[in-house]
Amino acid sequence: MDVILLNIADASVAVFQFHNIALIAIGVLCGIVAGAIPGFTVTMAVVLTLPFTFGMPPIEGLSVMLGVYVGGMSGGLISAMLMGIPGTPAAVATTFDGFPLVRQGQPGRALGLGIWSSFFGGLIGAVVLATLAPTLANFGLEFGPWAFFSLIMFALTITGSLAGDSLIKGLIAAAVGLLAAAIGAEEINSIDRMHFGIDSLRGGFAYLPVLIGLFAFSQLMSDIEDRDAARKALIEKDSKYVKIEHWYAIKTIMRSWGNLLRSSMIGCFVGVLPAAGASISNILAYDQAKKASKTPEKFGTGHDQGIIAPEAANNATAGGALTVMMALGIPGSPLCAIMLGALLIHNVVPSPTFILDQPLIAYSIFVAFFFAHFLMIAMQAYGLRLFVYIIKLPMYFLAGVILVYCAIGTFALNNIEDDIWTLFWFGILGYLMKKFGFPLAPMILGVVLGDLAELNLNRAVSISDNYWLFLTRPWSLFFILMALFSTVFPWYQKARGRRIWTLAFVPLMLLVMAVPLFMMDSMIRTVVAALMIAGGIYMLWKRQQNGWALDPTDAAQPPLATNEPA
């Protein structure tokens, strides 16, 4: 504990430099603006900020990006409440009660609740990040190259299966991402491969132009597709000055601490899961808040609790997502993949030893993430008029300017014009993929994780040519089984409540997943495995008692899938 406090103190000295605070403030400002613009996502805002951070020292560069991340997560509530259009998918559930409350003539109250819920949710996420990441990193130290390779495969399969409507399209996208990363210079043996004799392909694709092309370029093209909509202002109503009711919001949230805590923990948990993100957590938290409420009928009519839940959850998700990325070096979402890219640019390689080896940078991330929430509150409180003014601009203004900015930013990465061509080709590919229903998230993860997967496969093969080690190493087996279940999950989701085999899915998963836990040399994990087996057998017994009768209400559950990352 003393070491953690000492590290936090050192990191605070590094973060609380005047110029660094100014940079975080700029990041938060940009994030809120981007989050407020419907059609933009937080991921896109972070992508666009990246080129500015190339020349900065790691702590400054990461502070800016964390500012954008935090600002973007809360910026979505402005358009969600004032226009009824969520600025980002992470603010979808905010519209359910935020917009009705604004229409009742209470915009100050609605915005106050949203902003302060984001703040408190984010702080809880930051605490989880600072406390859980070192613990999770200790687990990561047990992984060998076999487990790391299997973990990457798991991250790709679960993203492929959850990121879109079709599992096959998700898997194809992931494989195409891996293939794109495999083109050009190979690191281990220094051999150029699959370049078709084209010189510019010999070095491979720098993955940031690929990410900017896939994400930002293709998103902009989708945003301006409708000729008339692109010319219209994003918000056409005249905005009056809104006085945010801070005290009312703080008092209400403090009285609703149960809802705040539950929603924040849902956000953190969803953030930890690969492929899930704020676009899922905000809806899940809203749903749980409604179920737990004594007055569920008030939800959807401008109820305070309906604003607190999604806004606390979406900001807390960031803490959970960063936890996994920092502890294991595996990004669970495109947003974290880009954050990982930012770390790699500054020669910081997240891995289980990252927090131990580079405590100053690791704890600076915790502190900057925590502090960014305070700046977010200040910006939201005093900059609301500016944000509303910006979302009055027509979309085509933004598209034209941002496209050229993408080109400049991409060039700035390595000072190579070929990178802008990469941006262009992957922009076309990303747009076509979106048009034909292929999710981009698995491809982005494939591009980012491709080299890491190959490196770990190579290490595993170099240590021993016994491929069975992938199945006999407990953590590796654990992730392979998780990958298999995540592949079947979309079918389970569709067939739930309609097919008898779905009744055996969860108990079977518990029984099978207990096997690798038993193989681990730890008393606690053995107890957990025994509990999982007991739970699995109990569920099977209960279903046997019910005569394997299907529950039709299960079929009504919405699928846990998202087409767009937050």
Partner: protein, 161 residues
């Protein structure tokens, strides 16, 4: 071709791409001393991609072929996607002419052309597009050149550094 649905066409393209990359993977030299050759990873990915593309093809063949009028004509297609097509074309021209115009002039021309192509064609709007193009690219050029120390492509017309 008209009887094939989009998914079938995409699956066939994917399989062709897999074939091309398999051929390229065979050209990767094996150094002999490494425990895992440089072609192993590409083969691993391509095998997975080929298998999932085949499954995708089989799935797509089960779907009904497109009905008459369901697939847009080339003219309808261009009209529907006019904005993205124009943007891609202008961006392509911007890249082709970048060595000549450089980022400052080329970027400004790109923003102006894109805004004018996407926005309304009135004198007022065109003037506004010109101002936005000059200000946005000029500002970004200044930030990158002076604050971040990034030398953007100069072009042949104005050798500005």
């Amino acid at each position: 071709m008209q009887k094939l649905n989009n998914d079938t066409i995409i699956a066939l393209i994917l399989l062709m791409v897999c074939g091309m990359f398999f051929w390229q993977a065979t050209l990767v030299p094996d150094l002999g001393y490494s425990s895992m050759g440089s072609a192993v990873w590409p083969y691993f990915i391509l095998t997975i991609l080929t298998v999932v593309s085949l499954v995708y093809l089989v799935q797509s063949l089960r779907l009904p072929p497109p009905q008459a009028g369901e697939r847009p004509s080339p003219k309808e297609f261009v009209l529907r996607y006019l904005n993205p097509i124009m943007c891609f074309v202008i961006f392509f021209l911007f890249l082709v002419t970048l060595p000549v115009f450089g980022m400052l002039i080329g970027g400004g021309l790109f923003v102006f052309s894109t805004l004018t192509a996407l926005g309304p064609l009135t004198w007022r709007a065109v003037r506004l597009h010109l101002i936005i193009a000059l200000c946005s690219v000029g500002l970004m050029w200044l930030i990158f050149y002076y604050l971040l120390g990034v030398f953007l492509p100069p072009g042949m017309i104005i050798p500005y550094y």
